[in-house]
C-alpha cells in the first residue's frame, strides 16, 4: 500500500480577503481531516480572461491549476473574487474536476448581486464561500449532488437557496466521502 500526500493547496487567485482563505483552510482541516496550505498565483487569471465577456473561464483555470500542482498535493483549490464562466454557462459559482485533482470557486456571484455587489441583509459571505469550497472539493472526491437540502453537496438554485444548507455532509455523503477519500489517500498495490 502506498500512502499518498494529504495536503490540500488553496490558491489565492487575485485579491481575495485573507480571512476568507483562513476560514476555508480551517474548514477543510475540520471536514476532511486534511492539512491545508495557502499559496498565491498571479499567472493563472490573466490567461483565463475572456475580454469580451469580462469574465474568467473556469475550464482554463482548472487546466492551469493542474500545471502548478505541487508534488505533495492531494487536491488544489483556486479561490477568486472575479466572475467565472464555463463554455456553456453564463456564469458559475465554481467548478471542479469530477473525481480529479482541482477545483475553483469564485465569491463574485456569492455576494448575491449579478454585478458582484453585496446585497443588504445577506448572511456572511464567508459562510457561502466555505460551503462552496467544501461542495466543489466534494466533487473532486467523486461526490455527486445530494437530494438532502441540508447537505453541503445539495445543488441549490441560487445563493439564497444555498443559504439553507449546512457546511457539512449528510451521513450518506459523509460515508461516500470517507470511502472515496480512502481510495484517494491509499493506493493499493
Amino acid at each position: 500500500m502506498i500512502i499518498r500526500p494529504r495536503i490540500v493547496y488553496i490558491v489565492r487567485l487575485g485579491e481575495v480577503e485573507s480571512s476568507h482563505l483562513t476560514v476555508i483552510s480551517e474548514s477543510l482541516q475540520e471536514h476532511f481531516g486534511l492539512e491545508a496550505k495557502i499559496i498565491e498565483d498571479r499567472t493563472i487569471l490573466p490567461c483565463a480572461l475572456d475580454a469580451a465577456r469580462k469574465q474568467y473561464n473556469s475550464n482554463l483555470i482548472l487546466k492551469k491549476l493542474l500545471d502548478i500542482l505541487p508534488a505533495d498535493a492531494l487536491k488544489i483549490l483556486g479561490v477568486t473574487d472575479f466572475d467565472l464562466f464555463s463554455p456553456i454557462f453564463s456564469y458559475v459559482f465554481g467548478e471542479a474536476q469530477f473525481g480529479g485533482k482541482c477545483a475553483v470557486i469564485s465569491s463574485f456571484r456569492l455576494r448575491g448581486h449579478p454585478d458582484g455587489k453585496i446585497l443588504q441583509g445577506c448572511p456572511p459571505l464567508v459562510s457561502r464561500i466555505e460551503k462552496e469550497a467544501i461542495h466543489e472539493l466534494g466533487h473532486t472526491f467523486g461526490l455527486r449532488h445530494c437530494a438532502d437540502p441540508d447537505c453541503v453537496m445539495h445543488y441549490s438554485v441560487g445563493v439564497q437557496c444555498a443559504d439553507r444548507k449546512f457546511a457539512f455532509f449528510c451521513p450518506a455523503c459523509r460515508e461516500m466521502m470517507v470511502w472515496h477519500m480512502a481510495t484517494d489517500l491509499f493506493l493499493k498495490i
Binding site: 464555463s86 456564469y91 466533487h139 445543488y155
Partner: protein
C-alpha cells in the same frame, strides 16, 4: 421519470457537447450527445429520450427540421431549443412546432436547472396519472385483467366473491391465460392486500431446492447452509402464497404441502421447532390435475384441499370478443413504453388476429403487438408486421413449428437485450427461471 431522466444533447460545437453532457451526468441525468441532425434522429430511433436539448442553428439539417422529425418519431419526448441568438421569431416558430421552451446560450445554469426539474416533475405526474387512470375500475377490466366477454365477466364476479374469504383457490388454464394476474387480483381485493403476495414457480425448481425455498432451512441443515433462512411460507405470513405450476411438484413435496394446509404449521429443513403461519394459498396449473389424480401422479387429498374454489381461465380462442380490447390495451401500454403513437389496426391485420388460434393465449397476443410496435412507426398496426401474417405460405427457411418459433423469438430477444436474462424475461413476460430453463432446453448460447 426520475432524476436519472435520459437527456440527448444535439449541438455542432464539441465543447458544448462535452461540457453539457458532463454537467448533466453530474446532475444525475443519463446524458449523451450527438453533433448533427442525422445523429439526433438516429439516436431518437434507437432509444427513448425524455428530453432533447437541441441547438437551433446547426450546419446541414437545422434545429427546426430536427424538431419536426423528433416530434414525428417520439411525440412524448420534450424538446428544449438552445440558441446562441435571441431570435424571437425562430424561437416562436420552434414553440409552434412543438418545442417545450427555448434557452439562450451561454446557458443560465439556474434557468436550465429549474426547467429540467419542472419537466421531470411534470413527466413524473403524467406517468403517475396514466398509471392511476389505468387502475381506475373499468367495466372491462379487473386489476390488470381485461375482458368484456361473458366468460371473463363471470371470472371477475368469481374473483369478487372469493377474494375476501380465506378459501384456497386453484386457478387452471392454458399457458399465457393470465393465471398469476388472477392470483394477484384475488390478493389485492382481499383483506390481506397490505401483506405480502409471494409467488413461487414450482416447476422451475428442482425438488430439494423447492423444499428449501418453501419451508426455509436451519443453519447447518445441509452443506452450505451457513445461516438460518426463512422460506416463502414464512415470508408470506399474513398474506398470500401463490404456487404456480403446482402440477409439477413431486409426491414428497405434495405430502409436505398437504401437512401445512392441514396443520397451518411446518418445520424448516433441519429444524425441530414448529413454525406457525397464517397464509392464504392460491395454486395454479396448466395441467389437468383431475386426470393426474386418476393416474396417481397427484395426491387426491391435496387436490381436494387446493380445489376449494376453482377458477378456470378460458383460452383466448374461446373469447375472441376480447381480442380488439386487448389489442387496444397493449397498444396503449407499448406506446408509452416505446414512445410511439399507434392508434388503430389495419382491418386485414385485425381479421388475421381474430382468426388466429393463439396457442400462447394473451401472452402471445401481447408479444405480437409489442413486436409490431417495436418494428414500425405507426400510427396503424399493419398486417405485414404480424409474425403469422403469411402463416399459410411460410417463407423459405421460416420456422413452422411453434417450438422453433419460440426458440427464434427467445434468441432474438436475448440478443436485443444483450443477454440480460432479467430484462429479457420481463419483456417476454415469463419468469427468469422459466427463461433459464428455456435457454437450457434450446441449448442457446451467447455468440
Amino acid at each position: 421519470m426520475t432524476e436519472d431522466a435520459k437527456i440527448l444533447v444535439v449541438d455542432d460545437e464539441p465543447i458544448v457537447r462535452l461540457s453539457l453532457t458532463n454537467w448533466l451526468q453530474e446532475e444525475n441525468y443519463q446524458a449523451r450527445a450527438v453533433g448533427d441532425g442525422a445523429g439526433a434522429i438516429a439516436a431518437i430511433q434507437e432509444e427513448n429520450w425524455d428530453i432533447v436539448l437541441l441547438d437551433l442553428k446547426m450546419p446541414g439539417m437545422d434545429g427546426l427540421e430536427v424538431l419536426r422529425k423528433v416530434k414525428e418519431i417520439a411525440p412524448h419526448t420534450v424538446v428544449i431549443m438552445m440558441t446562441a441568438y435571441a431570435s424571437v421569431p425562430s424561437s416562436v416558430q420552434a414553440m409552434k412546432e412543438g418545442a417545450y421552451d427555448y434557452i439562450i446560450k451561454p446557458l443560465d445554469v439556474e434557468e436550465l436547472t429549474l426547467m429540467l426539474n419542472k419537466i421531470v416533475e411534470h413527466q413524473h405526474l403524467v406517468t403517475e396519472n396514466i398509471l392511476l387512470r389505468k387502475r381506475l375500475t373499468d367495466r372491462y377490466t379487473y386489476g390488470d385483467i381485461i375482458g368484456k366477454s361473458s366468460a371473463m365477466q363471470g371470472i371477475f364476479e368469481l374473483i369478487d366473491s372469493v377474494a375476501d374469504t380465506n378459501a384456497t383457490v386453484l386457478i387452471t388454464g392454458e399457458t399465457g391465460t393470465g393465471k398469476e394476474l388472477v392470483a394477484r387480483a384475488v390478493h389485492t381485493n382481499s383483506s390481506r392486500r397490505y401483506s405480502p403476495f409471494i409467488a413461487v414457480s414450482c416447476g422451475a425448481l428442482p425438488d430439494t431446492l423447492l423444499e428449501s425455498e418453501l419451508f426455509g432451512y436451519e443453519k447447518g441443515a445441509f452443506t452450505g447452509a451457513d445461516r438460518t433462512k426463512k422460506g416463502r411460507f414464512e415470508l408470506a405470513h399474513g398474506g398470500t402464497l401463490f404456487l404456480d405450476e403446482i402440477g409439477d411438484i413431486s409426491v414428497k413435496t405434495q405430502i409436505k404441502l398437504l401437512r401445512v394446509l392441514q396443520e397451518r404449521n411446518f418445520q424448516r429443513l433441519g429444524g425441530t421447532d414448529l413454525v406457525d403461519v397464517d397464509v392464504r394459498l392460491i395454486a395454479a396449473t396448466n395441467r389437468d390435475l383431475a386426470k393426474a389424480v386418476e393416474e396417481n401422479a397427484f395426491r387426491s387429498d391435496l387436490y381436494y384441499r387446493l380445489n376449494v374454489v376453482n377458477i378456470q381461465l378460458p383460452p383466448l380462442r374461446g373469447r375472441k370478443d376480447d381480442i380488439p380490447l386487448l389489442i387496444t390495451h397493449f397498444m396503449e401500454k407499448f406506446n408509452v413504453e416505446f414512445n410511439k403513437k399507434f392508434d388503430r389496426v389495419e382491418q386485414a391485420a385485425l381479421d388475421q388476429m381474430m382468426s388466429y388460434p393463439w396457442p400462447g393465449n394473451v401472452r402471445e397476443l401481447e408479444n405480437v403487438v409489442e413486436r409490431a410496435i417495436v418494428i414500425d412507426q405507426g400510427p396503424e398496426l399493419k398486417l405485414r408486421n404480424l409474425p403469422f401474417c403469411n402463416i399459410e405460405q411460410p417463407a423459405q427457411g421460416e420456422p413452422e413449428a411453434l417450438e422453433d418459433v419460440e426458440r427464434l423469438h427467445i434468441t432474438k430477444m436475448l440478443e436485443r437485450h444483450d443477454w440480460n436474462v432479467a430484462k429479457t424475461a420481463r419483456i417476454l413476460n415469463i419468469d427468469r427461471t422459466t427463461l433459464h430453463k428455456k435457454i437450457k432446453k434450446f441449448g442457446l448460447e451467447r455468440q
